[in-house]
Subunit: 252 residues, 2 copies
C-alpha cells in the first residue's frame, strides 16, 4: 500500500497493549515511582525517552496541538487512549489495574493519600539543593541550600519518616496498608534508598528510629521482580541531576 | 438512659450525614479548595476547628492512637466511616459524590491531574515567602524570599498559568474540562484570587495574557452558591498567615 493512502491515519501508532512511559532518560526522578510499579506488576512497557524515540517524542506529546489532555510535565504514561500525568495519578491508575492497591474505596483512598504525602516529601527533598529556583544551578544557591537542608534533616525528614513508621506500627502487617504490598510501599522503598544516597550520614542516624520502614525497604528490595530490576541496566543509578543528590557539604 | 450504659460506645458520635472538615481556623490555606467544593455542592458540613471543637478536635484526630488512617497534616474530611486527607484526594472523593467531576475514567483522571498540578503550584506559591523553612518566620528568610519570588514571578507562575490558559483554549468550553464545572475550576478561581491578593502588580501584568483563566475566575465568582459563600463570614479573608501573602517588597 502506498504511504499516501494512509493520509489521515497516524502511521506510527502500533496496535500494542504496551504502556509507554515518558520521562527524562538520565535520572530516576519522579519517573522512578512509576517504573517501580510497572516492574513489580511485570507490565510490558517502553521507557520512551530512553529508547529510539528519545526526549523528542516526549516533547512532541507535551507540545502537541492535538492532544487535549496535554501534561504539564513528565512523567506521563500512555495506555491505549489514556494519557495520564502526575505521578500519584499514574499510580492510582496502575494500582487498580495491577492489584497494587486495595479494591475497596477506603483502602484505595488511603494508599493514594500515603502516596500524596510521599509526593510532598519528594518536593521537599528536591528543594534541599534547589531552594531558590529549579532553573538555576546548585552552585548558584549553595548557601541557601545549606540552610534549607539543615532544617530538612533536623525537622522535616524526621517528621515524615516518623509518620510512615507510625503508619507501619498500626497497619497490621509489614506493609503500609497491611499485609499486602501496594504501590505506596514501592515508593517508600524509593525514598529510603534516595535518602541513603543523598544523606548517608544523616540517614544512618535517622534509621535507628525507623526499624519498620527499613524492614519494608529490605522486603521490597528482595521481591523477585524488583531485585531483577535493580540489578538491571533499566535502573538508572542515582546521580547529581535527580531529586536525591549527594553533596557532601549538605550531609551534616 | 444512664450514661454508664453507653460504656463502649462513642457518645459524642452523632447520627448525622454532615461532613466534618478539619483545617486551621485562621486561614484559607489548602482547606479553602475543599471549602469551595463543599459550598458549590451545597453540602452540609461543619468546619470543626472554627466551631466549638476548636483546633483541639483536629489535633485529637491527628494524634489518635485508635485511628488507623491518621492524616499527616490538615486538611482532612470525615464522612461517616471515611477519614480522608490530602486536598486533591478529598476533592477526588467529593467530585465523584457531588457531580463536580466527569463520571467516566479518562475525564475523572484528567480533572485529578489538573488538581495535582494546581497543588504543585500552591507549594511554589507558598515557598515564595518560606524558601528556607516553614518553621521559621518570614523575617528570618526575607532575603531568600526575594530571590525565590523573583524567579517565581518571572518563570514559574507564567509557566503554570500559561498551561492552564492553553488547557482552556482546548477544552471545548469555558471550563477546564469543557462545558461543565468541576472542582478544578473552583481551584483555579482560588489561585487567581490568591495571586491577585499576594502580587497585585505582577498579577495585573500576567492577566493580560490569561483572558480565559480570568473569565473562568469571574464565572466561578458569580455562581450563586459561591457568591453567597464569598460574601459570608465563612470565607476567611486573605491574610499573612496563609499560602498567598501580600508582602509589598516581594511584588516586583
Amino acid at each position: 500500500m502506498d504511504a499516501r493512502h494512509k493520509a489521515g491515519h497516524d502511521v506510527t501508532e502500533e496496535p500494542t497493549m504496551r504502556y509507554e512511559l515518558y520521562y527524562w532518560p538520565e535520572i530516576q526522578g519522579r519517573g522512578e515511582f512509576v517504573r517501580l510499579a510497572l516492574e513489580e506488576a511485570g507490565a510490558s512497557y517502553v521507557d520512551v525517552a530512553r529508547s529510539k524515540g528519545g526526549t523528542g517524542a516526549m516533547f512532541k506529546l507535551m507540545e502537541s496541538e492535538r492532544e487535549k489532555h496535554r501534561p504539564f510535565a513528565p512523567p506521563f504514561l500512555k495506555s491505549g487512549r489514556f494519557l495520564i500525568a502526575q505521578t500519584a495519578n499514574i499510580l492510582l491508575f496502575l494500582g487498580a489495574r495491577h492489584g497494587l492497591a486495595p479494591r475497596e474505596e477506603a483502602g484505595r483512598q488511603w494508599v493514594h493519600q500515603l502516596q500524596l504525602t510521599i509526593a510532598d516529601f519528594v518536593v521537599e527533598a528536591h528543594d534541599t539543593h534547589h531552594p531558590i529556583a529549579s532553573g538555576l544551578y546548585y552552585e548558584d544557591q549553595k548557601k541557601e541550600a545549606k540552610r534549607r537542608t539543615a532544617d530538612f534533616l533536623k525537622n522535616r525528614a524526621p517528621k515524615y519518616f516518623g509518620y510512615f513508621e507510625e503508619v507501619l506500627v498500626r497497619s497490621g502487617g509489614k506493609h503500609l496498608a497491611g499485609r499486602r504490598l501496594t504501590y505506596a510501599d514501592l515508593s517508600l522503598f524509593q525514598i529510603v534508598a534516595g535518602m541513603r544516597y543523598a544523606f548517608p550520614k544523616a540517614m544512618a542516624k535517622h534509621e535507628k528510629k525507623l526499624p519498620r520502614a527499613v524492614a519494608l525497604h529490605d522486603l521490597v528490595a528482595k521481591r523477585p521482580r524488583i531485585a531483577a530490576y535493580l540489578a538491571s541496566e533499566r535502573r538508572i543509578p542515582f546521580n547529581e541531576y535527580g531529586i536525591f543528590r549527594h553533596y557532601k557539604e549538605l550531609d551534616a
